[in-house]
Amino acid sequence: MSDFPLIRLADVTKVYHLESGDVIALNHVSVDILENEFVAIMGPSGSGKSTMMNQLGILDVPTSGNLFISGKNVAAMTNLERTHMRRDTIGYIFQNFYLIPLLTAYENVEYPLILKYKQRDNSGKAAAILKSVGFDQALSAHRPSQLSGGQQQRVAIARALVNDPRILLCDEPTGNLDRKTGFTIMDTLAGLHSEGKTVILVTHDPKVAEYAHRTIQLEDGRVVAS
C-alpha cells in the first residue's frame, strides 16, 4: 500500500454546466495524498477548494480523469458502493457542523455506527468517543440546538471518527468558531493525525494551515503549489 497513495487525483477535471456557460471548477488536477499525511488545501474563493473536497468526499464524480481512494477508482463504483465508502473510509467535518437537529449529541455520534452495523450501538463506542472529546452522559443527551458552536464541532468530530475512518476531511472546521475554540479543535485534529489518521483540511486561515505538513495551493481550478 505504501507505494500506492491513499488518494490519487489523476488529471481530474470538473466542469459545471450552468446557464451562463460552462465553469471549469477543477482543471486537470493531479495530486497524490499519502497515508497519514496532514494536508491543507488553500486558495482564494472560487479556486476550486470546495469542488476538490466534494471529489475527495465522493459526493461528486470527476467530469474527466480518475480519482482513486484506497486504490479503487471512484468513477467506476456504483452509487451504493460510493455511499458505503463514504460511510466506512471517510469522516467528514463541516464548517457548519451539520449535526442532525432531531437527534441528541449521543445519537448523532451513534448514527454512523447504525448505518454501518444496522443496529443500535451496544459496544459503548459512541459514548467512549464522545468522552474523548469531553462529553459526559448529561451533555450527550442534549440536542445540537442546545450546544455551543465549539461543542457542536466536537460532536461532529466524534461523529466523523466513530466508524474509524482512514481519512478525515475537514471543510473550514474552525470557520464558525472563535479563535480559542478553533485552536482547541485544531489541536484535537493534530492529535488524531498523530494517531495515524490522514487529515485533509480546507482553510482560508494561514494560522490553521500551519498545523498541516503540506499545503496544496489552488487557483482557478489548478494546483499552483503542492
Partner: protein
C-alpha cells in the same frame, strides 16, 4: 431492534405535531367516510335481506293458466282455473310433513258504511288461519261470517273489531253478503315473500268464500311452508314430479330469485356510496402529499447531511415513507374509533335498526377503512420520499 429511521420519522412528526395532526385529519375523514358508508350500506342490505328471507321458506303453487286454458274440455277440464282437491292431495303427499295451505282468492268491491272500496278477498281453512295469521288486534275467525282484515284496509276505513263489511258491487240491487271484522293484521309490507300480501285484503273462511264466490274444492293458490329451508329445491322437485307428471298444470315459485335480485341491487348501491366516501380519501391523499412535500423541502439540509455521511438512498426513502405511515396510523386510529361512533349514529338515524351493526360483515368496514387510509397515506408519501432520496447531497447541504 428499534429502527433509527423510524425514530427520526417519529421525531419529525412530533416536532411538527400540529401540521401532522391536520394532515391526519384528512385521513380521519376518509376512514370515517368509507367505514360508515360501508356499514350503512351493509346494514341496509342485511336488514332487507332478512326481511325478504323471512318468506323464503314458502313455496307458492299456482295453476298454470297459460297451458290449461279456461273453458277447454277434456280430462283436465275442471282444473282450468284452479288447483283441484286431487292435485292438492298430491301436493300434500309430496310436501311430506311440511305445512300445506290452500288459498282461495279474488278481487272484490266492498262497502263499509257509506264508503266503497276494492281489495282482495281470500278464503282460508279456519285451522290454517289460526296457524299462520298473527292478528295484532282481535282474534282469528270462529264463526262462518267472521273476517280478519289487512292493516291498510283497516287504517283507510278506520275499521274496528265488530265493523261490518258488505262484499260485492254496491250498485247491484240485491242484498249483499256481510262479514264482521273480528281481527286486524299487522302491516306486512315488503316482508310478505310468502305470496300472500294481506295488507289490502279481507280474509274469510273457505266455506264462506266458496258459498259466495263458488269454486268449492278448487283453489287459486297453495302455499307450502317448509320446516327446513334447505329442502326447498327437493320439495319443489317432488311436487313438480308428482303433479306435473303428465302435463304442466301448476306453477311452482319461491322468493329466492327475488332475494338475489334485491340483494344485488343493494350491493350496487353500497358500492356507489363507498365510491362517494372514497372521494374524501382522495382529498386526504392530496393533503398528505402536500405535508410530505413540505416536510421534504424543510429538511433538505438534513437530507444532505444524511446522504453525505453515508446514508443509503433507500434508507432516506424509508425514513419519509415511515413518516407517511405514522401520519396514516394516527389518522386511521382516530378515524377507526370515530367511525364506530359515527357509523352507529348514521345507521341508527337512517335505518333505525342497529341489530346488525356489530356483525362481522358490517364492522369489517372499520379495519378495512383504516387499512385503506394507511395505504393511501403511504402511497401519497412515495413521491416525496423518492424526491428526498434522490437529492444531490452537495446541493442539499447548501440549502438553508
Amino acid at each position: 431492534m428499534k429502527d433509527i429511521f423510524f425514530d427520526l420519522s417519529v421525531r419529525s412528526v412530533r416536532l411538527n405535531f400540529l401540521r401532522s395532526l391536520l394532515a391526519s385529519i384528512g385521513i380521519v375523514i376518509g376512514v370515517v367516510a368509507i367505514a360508515s358508508m360501508g356499514m350503512l350500506g351493509t346494514n341496509m342490505q342485511l336488514i332487507v335481506k332478512n326481511q325478504l328471507t323471512a318468506g323464503i321458506n314458502t313455496i307458492v303453487i299456482t295453476p298454470d293458466v297459460v297451458r290449461s286454458e279456461p273453458g277447454s274440455f277434456g280430462t283436465q277440464g275442471t282444473t282450468a282455473t284452479g288447483i283441484t282437491e286431487s292435485q292438492l292431495k298430491d301436493i300434500r303427499d309430496a310436501a311430506g310433513t311440511n305445512e300445506v295451505i290452500p288459498i282461495d282468492r279474488t278481487s272484490t268491491q266492498f262497502s263499509i258504511g257509506s264508503s266503497d272500496g276494492r281489495g282482495s278477498i281470500m278464503g282460508f281453512d279456519q285451522n290454517d288461519m289460526k296457524n299462520i295469521m298473527n292478528v295484532s288486534e282481535g282474534s282469528t275467525p270462529r264463526g262462518e261470517s267472521d273476517a280478519i282484515v289487512g292493516a291498510m284496509i283497516a287504517s283507510r276505513f278506520d275499521l274496528k273489531i265488530g265493523t261490518r263489511i258488505k262484499i260485492g258491487e254496491p250498485n247491484i240491487s240485491v242484498t249483499r253478503p256481510v262479514v264482521r271484522v273480528v281481527g286486524i293484521l299487522p302491516t306486512i309490507g315488503m316482508s310478505s315473500s310468502n305470496g300472500i300480501n294481506t295488507d289490502n285484503a279481507i280474509i274469510v273462511s273457505d266455506t264462506w268464500y266458496s258459498a259466495q264466490f263458488g269454486g268449492a274444492n278448487v283453489y287459486d293458490q297453495v302455499n307450502v311452508n317448509l320446516k327446513d329451508v334447505s329442502t326447498l329445491s327437493a320439495v319443489e322437485t317432488a311436487i313438480d314430479n308428482k303433479v306435473n307428471r303428465n302435463k304442466e298444470v301448476i306453477r311452482i315459485s319461491d322468493a329466492s330469485s327475488r332475494v338475489t335480485s334485491v340483494s344485488s341491487t343493494l350491493s350496487s348501491l353500497t358500492t356507489f356510496i363507498l365510491a362517494i366516501g372514497s372521494i374524501s380519501l382522495l382529498v386526504a391523499a392530496t393533503s398528505i402529499f402536500n405535508v410530505m412535500m413540505m416536510s421534504v423541502s424543510e429538511r433538505v439540509q438534513e437530507i444532505g447531511i444524511l446522504l453525505s455521511i453515508g446514508t443509503e438512498t433507500g434508507e432516506v426513502r424509508r425514513m419519509f415513507l415511515y413518516e407517511a405511515f405514522i401520519l396514516g396510523i394516527i389518522g386511521a386510529i382516530i378515524g377507526g374509533i370515530m367511525s364506530i361512533v359515527i357509523g352507529y349514529s348514521v345507521v341508527s338515524a337512517m335505518i333505525g335498526n342497529t341489530a346488525y351493526f356489530f356483525l362481522p360483515e358490517s364492522i369489517i368496514y372499520v379495519p378495512a377503512g383504516m387499512l385503506i387510509g394507511i395505504v393511501v397515506c403511504v402511497a401519497s408519501g412515495v413521491y416525496p420520499a423518492w424526491k428526498a432520496s434522490n437529492m444531490d447531497p452537495i446541493e442539499a447541504l447548501r440549502a438553508e
